[in-house]
């Protein structure tokens, strides 16, 4: 939140600074009165009206009214969800994020996971919900958090001012691996975004090596496709992240490991040590060759 990438976040940071300075000033003042009261020699009785009505009633009412006026005025300037915005849907799932775009050409749904890419300088509305328990979508650089409640769609309006990669976390306790449910928002130039979306709409890239072909075969044999979709090979299951273009994402495992071939192998073999309790079983019994084949296959899904 200290490095805002949207006007909403920048406004909030300004409000936070005002609040912080005000709080410190009042704190120092009250502590000063306390010290003065302690060292004062006994004198005349205290003027109850001055202390109580002045300090206890008038002073806070004046300050709080000013604060209310200021914060309401600035707060109304925060980004609001708008009907003309680009809509991206995000669902919280224990313990990852399903992200859904619409293909502008065909209107079909494009499913991805754990990374939200959006165009700089354009209004975006995130439609937030949950597939299971209550989660909360929070990318501090973009603005405040919004809870993801099953049965409801809450909306968050975002307009990113500059390109960059922004980390977010789940901010509502959602079970065993709440601590390791991170995501990344990648803001890119609008034309780059359009190209990216077109690529995402396409089915999976064909395997480019014999190892990767092996990996694709193993993907089905080992029943990875019972949970994971790879469009063009297995299109259906939704209870795990969609892997069609997994290698185009910056991280795997909900922000856990930077995407690279070795990371895939590690994740598949050892997930229950990295993220104990995650819904995917560990495949530690697999031999090294099979693991590397699967890793090659997944790393090719750009």
């Amino acid at each position: 939140m200290l490095q805002p990438a949207t006007t909403s976040a920048a406004t909030t940071l300004e409000i936070a600074s005002v609040l912080g300075i005000g709080a410190v000033a009042i704190f120092v003042g009250v502590m000063g009165l306390l010290v003065a009261a302690l060292i004062r020699r006994r004198g005349q009785p205290a003027n109850a009206a001055l202390w109580v009505a002045g300090g206890g009633i008038a002073f806070p009412i004046v300050v709080l009214s000013a604060l209310l006026a200021y914060s309401t005025a600035r707060g109304l300037q925060l980004q609001r969800p708008s009907a003309e915005a680009l809509i991206i849907e995000v669902s919280g799932v224990q313990w990852w994020w399903e992200v859904r775009y619409r293909d502008p050409l065909t209107g079909r749904e494009i499913r991805s996971a754990n990374e939200v890419r959006l165009p700089v300088g354009r209004a975006v509305t995130l439609g937030l919900t949950s597939a299971d328990v209550i989660h909360s979508f929070w990318v501090p650089a973009l603005g405040g958090k919004v809870d993801m409640v099953p049965g409801r769609v809450n909306q968050l309006g975002v307009e990113v001012a500059q390109p960059g990669v922004y980390r977010g976390v789940c901010a509502e306790f959602c079970g065993d691996q709440h601590a390791k449910m991170a995501l990344h928002v990648v803001a890119v130039a609008p034309d780059e975004f359009d190209r990216w979306l077109t690529a995402q709409a396409a089915p999976a890239v064909a395997p480019g090596s014999s190892a990767a072909e092996n990996g694709q075969r193993l993907f089905t044999e080992l029943r990875c496709n019972a949970c994971h979709s790879v469009r063009g090979i297995t299109n259906g299951p939704r209870n795990a992240p969609d892997l069609t273009h997994v290698a185009s994402r910056l991280y795997i495992g909900a922000g856990e490991l930077p995407t690279q071939r070795d990371a895939f192998a590690r994740w598949i073999a050892d997930i229950q040590h990295i993220k104990p309790g995650a819904r995917m079983p560990a495949y530690g019994h697999l031999d090294q060759e099979s693991l590397m084949a699967l890793a090659a296959f997944l790393d090719g899904l750009k």
Binding site: M1, T12, V30, V52, G56, G75, Q94, K145, V149, R152
Partner: protein, 848 residues
């Protein structure tokens, strides 16, 4: 402000000297606590209060140890000391034990121990109820804490949000929480009843409301808050347990429920809860400041108004815990403004305290150090609270470590530090000794510095993006150093507490010595003895009786005030009028008894065995509890042996026991009915909430009962209420069999009418095909119907009990509390029946 002595006190003291021989010995014999193994049958507030405080402090230390384990896990990033599953149990138990087994009990316990003495009363108005409340808490709390050792502790957070805690939490953890805190709920409500009745009706003569110690005001308002806040969590936890065990879908969106419904119910309790924790501490602070600054309080009336305002407006701001859940913008702005407003009463108190310190000169004792620590920490926490009330800022810092910092600043600053100050200040009441002033400086230093080192960095880690309730965090996010510092601070704080425990144990177990009022305090708790309070109940005429009347303590000890002995050979105190505290009648209090602890064990067994689904043993325990309660009740409402007694030589004779609305038990029943009505209102709120959320009401597949059933039902309840009115107006005391049979017939008629009313209502719902599992609308209706059914069972039992009293000749014109209280509850049941039936029928028609 000059304080005039009352004309009575000017002319003559209530009792003349010399006192009769043997009078003091008689008094001491009546109040002598049971010894040896009979220790467990003690009921006097002094003995129960000490146990209560000690138990609460033990839970404080235990929950603190859980926090130390958590902080050790968080000291370094990516730590593997503690598994995620265990960590989630640790933070859930830390929060739950601190809030339910320490924070509320410790302030109630201090009130149980000290408030009667401050008021000049000798005990709480219902001693056995207080004992029952304590033992239920002790048994239930201990069993609940043990769950962590068996790995079955709840792990959904102390706030237990569904759906995580309903269909996504297999295992018993959540059930332990839901049924486990049932005890605390009972304990708290029993305590609230005692406090309200005690503060309003058992004050020393002349202690008008405007002369009460501020702690009495604080506890009165706190108790009223408990009455209106706890029912919401009772209702919420009931609904969650029904969803878990019977699959009634209150919080399941796909079947018409709403997870946000839980949040409304929980936080409607949860926010007043923190004021329930803070107001008593604020009351204690006021009393200590005036004593240690050696000056009367500046702004007494302002503080009373501030306490009232906090208590009232504290109920308006619950939704500021839900500002990211998707509420409407207008609602959120109102909540934000209300949250600002509720800080004004806090400011009034702070400036009154500052003015009092300014006017006087604070003597630096161990207690004073903790009061200064309170000022620093609580004001800082209050200011971050105002920050968090600003919507955009809230949306960033909600559910981060910034809030962890805020809540610990206000709770540890606002309650723990005042409680430690109170332990230092009032230890002489326990056995005449004082805690070590030298060690106090070390303990305070460790605790104050340790606290700030632990919790201040959390403001920063929250702003840097660290969310709450995480078992670990990644390296390289800037959080490493801050967390390590916090952990070091936590251990410093723990060291301070450990040093305090050492000093406390060696001081509190020393042999009794004379209490010399070492701080020269002004209020009545310093004028009593360690066992039952004052030798004679003083007539007072000022807020600081021991300051304005130099001879007060001597007079009290010499037996020159009210009740210097015992008129009946039993334990006694005075019932006085609520506003001016004019003596009304003599209240005979019960002595030590085995029934409260037995009933508590039975209640504990019932809830705990039900949690592990051992249904038959659970019901056996329930029966034991009920038998114990009935036997205990049988001894109440006794026929006075004489109509009046001489409670003070130079004052008019005092009636023994009250009649009708003057009895303390009637008012207790009034409060119980208010609690009951608030529970019903909470269930009704759930029904309205899910009704408004569905597209059509009733939802497709469900329908309302046919109107005829409900009209017959309403008629039945009206007849029942009228029959009980006739019973209330019956002329008791005519010793004719015909009269007794007539009254029995009236009661039987009321019971029959009630049973028919309920039966028709239930039949109507069955006829309409009510299936609670189908959707939330049906589930909430079934809940309301079941709640009414529970009331029908209770009135049936009450009817049987009442007839028993009548037949055995225990119902008399001057011993008719049983009848009056039963009529009150029964008529409330009838009203509840009519209103819930009407509401269920009318709501879909109003929504349209």
């Amino acid at each position: 402000m000059t304080q005039h002595a009352s004309p009575d006190l000017q002319n003559s003291l209530p009792s003349s000297l010399p006192r009769p021989a043997g009078e003091l010995a008689e008094l001491e014999r009546a109040w002598k606590p049971a010894s040896g193994w009979r220790f467990f049958s003690r009921v006097n507030n002094t003995q129960i209060g000490v146990l209560y405080i000690a138990t609460a402090l033990i839970f404080f230390v235990l929950a603190g140890v859980l926090a130390l384990i958590m902080r050790t896990q968080l000291a370094v990033p990516d730590n593997t000391l503690v598994s995620p599953q265990l960590y989630n149990q640790l933070f859930t138990m830390h929060g739950t034990v601190m809030m339910f087994l320490f924070a509320i009990p410790v302030v109630e316990a201090i009130a149980v121990y000290m408030l009667p003495n401050m008021l000049g009363a000798r005990d709480m108005p219902f001693p056995r109820l207080g004992a029952y409340a304590y033992w239920a808490y002790a048994f239930g709390g201990t069993a609940f804490f043990m769950t962590i050792f068996f790995g079955v502790a709840p792990d959904g957070g102390w706030f237990m949000y569904p759906p995580l805690t309903s269909h996504y939490s297999a295992g018993l953890g959540a059930d332990w929480y839901l049924l486990g805190i049932g005890f605390i709920e009972i304990s708290a409500i029993a305590g609230a009843i005692e406090l309200i009745i005690g503060v309003l009706f058992t004050r020393a003569p002349g202690m008008a409301l405007g002369k009460m110690p501020i702690f009495a005001w604080a506890m009165l308002i706190t108790a009223l808050m408990i009455v209106f806040a706890f029912p919401a969590v009772i209702a919420g936890t009931t609904l969650l347990e029904l969803e878990r065990s019977l699959d009634w879908p209150f919080f399941i969106a796909e079947r018409g429920g709403d997870p946000i419904l839980w949040q409304h119910l929980f936080w409607f309790f949860g926010h007043p809860e923190v004021y329930i924790i803070f107001l008593p501490a604020a009351g204690l602070v006021t009393m200590m400041i005036t004593t240690l600054a050696r000056t009367p309080l500046v702004g007494y009336r302002a503080i009373v108004l501030a306490l009232l305002a906090t208590g009232f407006f504290g109920f308006a701001v619950w939704a500021h815990h839900m500002l990211t859940a998707g509420l409407g913008m207008l609602e959120m702005m109102l909540i934000s403004a209300a949250s600002f407003a509720v800080s004004v009463p806090a400011a009034i108190q702070i400036f009154s305290w500052l003015a009092t310190l300014w006017q006087g000169r604070l003597r630096i004792t161990g207690a004073a150090l903790f009061l200064l620590g309170f000022f620093f920490i609580f004001v800082l926490g209050g200011l971050t609270g105002v920050m968090v009330a600003v919507l955009p800022f809230n949306w960033q810092v909600h559910d981060t470590y910034f809030i962890v910092a805020h809540l610990h600043y206000v709770l540890i600053g606002g309650m723990v530090f005042p409680v430690f100050a109170a332990l230092y200040h009032w230890t002489p009441l326990l056995n005449g000794h004082v805690l070590s002033e030298r060690l106090a400086r070390w303990i305070f230093g460790l605790m104050f510095l340790g606290f700030n080192v632990a919790f201040f960095p959390m403001h920063i880690s929250g702003l840097l993006g660290m969310p709450r309730r995480v078992y670990t965090y990644s390296a390289g996010l800037g959080l490493d150093g801050l967390n390590l510092v916090s952990t070091i601070g936590a251990f410093m704080l723990a060291a301070g507490v450990a040093l305090f425990v050492f000093d406390a144990l060696r001081t509190w177990f020393r042999a009794e010595t004379e209490n010399s009022n070492p701080w020269q305090a002004s209020t009545l708790e310093w004028a009593g003895n360690e066992e039952y309070g004052v030798r004679s109940i003083p007539e007072i005429d000022s807020r600081d009786p021991l300051w304005t009347r130099a001879s007060m303590v001597k007079e009290i000890e010499a037996g020159q005030h009210w009740l210097p002995g015992t008129t009946s050979g039993r334990r006694e105190t005075l019932m006085t009028s609520p506003r001016a505290a004019r003596p009304r009648h003599l209240l005979i209090l019960t002595g030590d008894s085995w029934w409260p602890i037995t009933a508590a064990a039975g209640t504990a067994g019932f809830f705990l065995l039900l949690t592990v689904k051992m249904v038959l043993p659970a019901f056996v325990c329930g029966v034991i509890a009920m038998v114990a309660i009935v036997v205990w009740l049988w001894e109440t409402d006794p026929t006075p042996r004489t109509a009046t007694v001489n409670a003070a030589d130079n004052r008019p004779r005092l009636r023994v026991g009250g009649v009708g609305v003057q009895t303390h038990s009637w008012w207790a029943m009034v409060i119980l009915v208010i609690v009951d009505a608030t529970i019903c209102a909470s269930f009704a709120f759930a029904h309205v909430h899910v009704s408004l959320m569905s597209d059509v009401c009733p939802p497709s597949g469900s329908r309302l009962p046919s109107l005829w059933f409900d009209l017959v039902s309403i008629a039945g309840w009206i007849v029942a209420a009228l029959a009980m009115e006739a019973a209330r107006r019956w002329e008791i005391g005519r010793d004719s069999t015909l009269s007794r049979v007539g009254l029995c017939a009236v009661i039987a008629a009321a019971l029959l009418s009630s049973l028919l009313a309920f039966a028709f209502n239930a039949w109507g719902h069955l006829d309409a095909g009510l299936e609670p599992k189908a959707n939330a609308w049906s589930a909430t209706i079934m809940t309301l119907v079941s709640f009414q059914g529970l009331h029908v069972i209770v009135v049936a039992l009450m009817a049987a009990y009442l007839v028993g009293r009548l037949i055995s000749g225990r119902l008399r014109p001057n011993a008719r509390a049983t009848l009056d209280n039963t009529v009150l509850f029964w008529q409330y049941t009838a009203v509840q029946g009519v209103l819930t039936i009407a509401a269920i029928q009318m709501l879909p028609r109003l929504i349209g």
